[in-house]
């Protein structure tokens, strides 16, 4: 077994027993990245120097006989919308191409304090907006199971890096499925925590009422370790809460699992349905009770999610004005569009940038990619006078219906099983022409996001040689329950 194949617990054991050093572990991953990332394109930045330096420190601790935390010396990759002090944090956007983070995100700070070794920053859909990582301004990330297919998104770089052994584990962010769906496409375990369980401080905001940071790992136990390391109240995030995670022995025998009929309808790939149904049978053999339930407002979740997420995004992304977060390349101000008629604004039709408004229009028009602009437009539209009630407010009211559906279901069952996505990984380029078809890739993950519920994605089988993930949705702050059930069902390949 190569060092880069180890999970967190195995690597920790090896370090403690002095079978290998943290430096050797890091070098093994750097070698693996050099060999593999040409094919996969999971990383935007490799932090080789810093990683080797931290490894040396950890080796010193071990040599001096000190007890080390379980995450000490273990290489992690961080999604590039999570701030890492002194390291480029781009959000896979041209507008932040040269931005060096001024401070660490709280989750990163906590991991660093435990001795974690950051090995690099991973690719994503620009500002986490997408379901395939094809919206990265730099390059798409490929699926390790089939490089002609997408890694999923928006945490595609993190998922692909874990799946192809280029790091032991990774952090991602999830707004409407951005951790769970790429984990499913790449065959790794992931957790989207309850809204408020993990601090969002230092996570570049996309949709603030939905965003959560969570782990992508090789095993369910690893997800539990990382979640416990990053969760908790943070004075820098007013929506974070004091830990109320219950630790208890789970009695699987009495557990009731709900299967919502609305998630097994036309449009789901037959191979995916087969794998999920087989997994439900397997769970039944563990002694749990299976119950069919109904979440009748599921069909409204997708439009409600997209209206809310884009509205919040249009406000959050207003801060990128080209005058605060590093230099935006000169050509982005002066660039001339060759085949466009005189632009509706200066700067892109050849006219001179005269004042601050011209500058904003030009910097933002050139600096944001197509999907980001599309979402800002959509959000600004649904928030604008005359449309606010029909779109934005209607969506927020519908969110209550979806939340009520879950409340009702959870009065009868303990957890809910669904597929993570209606299909396995799709082809690169397959959905880029039709934005709506890309949005539909999130159809099974957005409901838990709207209701703020925790959900894990666990690999449970294959269809056409591509991984399929099971989504386990739990009650608020019952991460331990869904992880425990996940670990009983999950078998490491």
């Amino acid at each position: 077994m190569e060092l880069y194949e180890l999970d967190i617990l195995q690597a920790h054991q090896g370090l403690v027993k002095k079978e290998f050093s943290a430096s050797e572990l890091v070098k093994s991953f750097l070698g693996k990245i050099r060999e593999t990332d040409k094919k996969i394109s999971a990383f935007l930045t490799i932090t080789k120097k810093e990683a080797l330096l931290t490894a040396k420190k950890i080796d010193g601790l071990i040599a001096s006989g000190q007890e080390i935390p379980v995450l000490a010396g273990i290489p992690i990759a961080i999604k590039d919308n999570i701030l890492t002090e002194g390291v480029r944090t781009t959000c896979a956007s041209k507008i932040l191409e040269n931005y060096i983070a001024s401070y660490d995100a709280t989750s990163v700070k906590k991991l660093k304090e435990l001795g974690a070794i950051i090995i690099g920053k991973t690719n994503l859909d620009e500002f986490a907006m997408g379901a395939s990582t094809e919206n990265s301004a730099f390059f798409p990330t490929k699926n390790p199971y089939d490089p002609t297919r997408v890694a999923g998104g928006s945490s595609g770089g993190s998922a692909a890096a874990v799946a192809s052994n280029m790091c032991v584990y990774a952090l991602g962010s999830d707004t409407g499925g951005s951790i769970r769906q790429p984990a499913s496409f790449c065959g790794v375990v992931s957790l989207k925590p309850t809204y408020g369980a993990v601090s969002r401080y230092g996570l570049v905001a996309f949709a603030s009422s939905l965003d959560q940071i969570g782990p992508l790992t090789k095993t369910v136990d690893d997800s539990k370790i990382v979640f416990n390391a990053i969760r908790g109240w943070d004075r820098m995030d007013s929506t974070s809460v004091k830990s109320r995670i219950k630790n208890y022995e789970l009695r699987i025998k009495n557990l009731k699992i709900g299967i919502p009929k609305e998630y097994f309808v036309k449009g789901i790939e037959p191979g995916v349905e087969r794998v999920i149904k087989k997994t439900i049978k397997k769970a039944e053999e563990l002694g749990v009770k299976i119950e069919e339930i109904s979440l009748p407002n599921t069909k409204y979740a997708l439009p409600a999610y997209y209206l809310i997420a884009t509205s919040e995004a249009s406000a959050n992304l207003a801060r990128y004005d080209g005058i605060r977060y590093s230099k935006v390349k000169r050509e982005q101000v002066d660039q001339k569009e060759t085949n466009s008629s005189p632009g509706t604004f200066p700067g892109r039709g050849g006219a001179k940038v005269k004042n601050l408004l011209d500058y904003y229009l030009t910097i933002r028009g050139n600096g944001f990619g197509k999907e980001v602009k599309r979402r800002i437009m959509l959000g600004a539209y649904s928030l604008s006078a005359g449309y606010y009630d029909a779109y934005y407010l209607k969506a927020e009211k519908t969110r209550t219906l979806i939340k009520n559906d879950f409340d009702k279901a959870f009065s009868k069952v303990d957890v809910i099983f669904t597929p993570v996505a209606p299909t396995a990984a799709f082809k690169i380029g397959e959905k880029t022409k039709d934005p709506l078809s890309m949005y539909l890739a999130d159809v099974f993950t957005v409901s838990a996001s709207l209701a703020g519920l925790p959900a894990v994605s666990v690999p449970v089988g294959f269809t056409r040689n591509l991984p399929v993930g099971l989504q386990i949705i739990g009650k608020p702050f019952e991460e331990n329950t869904i992880l425990e059930i996940g670990s009983r069902i999950f078998k490491k390949k």
């Binding site: 009422s209 207003a318 466009s340 632009g343 509706t344 004042n355 500058y359 933002r364 969110r399 709506l436």
Partner: protein, 100 residues
């Protein structure tokens, strides 16, 4: 169908400079997305209040507690790092284009 004029109005509101080509593209795409989303109308929301944040419900007692509003001194190193990110500056000031 959204009109071109509406697309221009929204783009200006959002401070996005768009080309003629993008104007056409967004007109088509936003129209088809909004056409699809409009079936949200059918959801009966007459009896419910909006949920702006999910935690409003399950975290009633501690939701929205804000920090005391007072000045906090930050280390010079942190301030310098934020200043380093200014694309243009004069001494310690951020330099921007004139507003008018």
């Amino acid at each position: 169908m959204i009109t071109k004029k509406e697309v221009q109005r929204i783009a200006k509101l959002a401070r996005l400079g768009i080309t003629k080509k993008e104007e056409e593209m967004f007109q088509k795409e936003l129209s088809s997305i909004l056409d699809y989303f409009i079936f949200l109308k059918k959801a009966d929301t007459s009896l419910v209040e909006p949920t702006f944040r999910p935690s409003e419900y399950f975290l009633k007692e501690e939701f929205g507690k804000t920090r005391e509003d007072r000045q906090e001194t930050q280390p010079a190193e942190k301030i310098n790092k934020l200043r380093d990110a200014f694309p243009e500056k004069e001494k310690d000031y951020l330099k921007v284009k004139s507003i008018l």
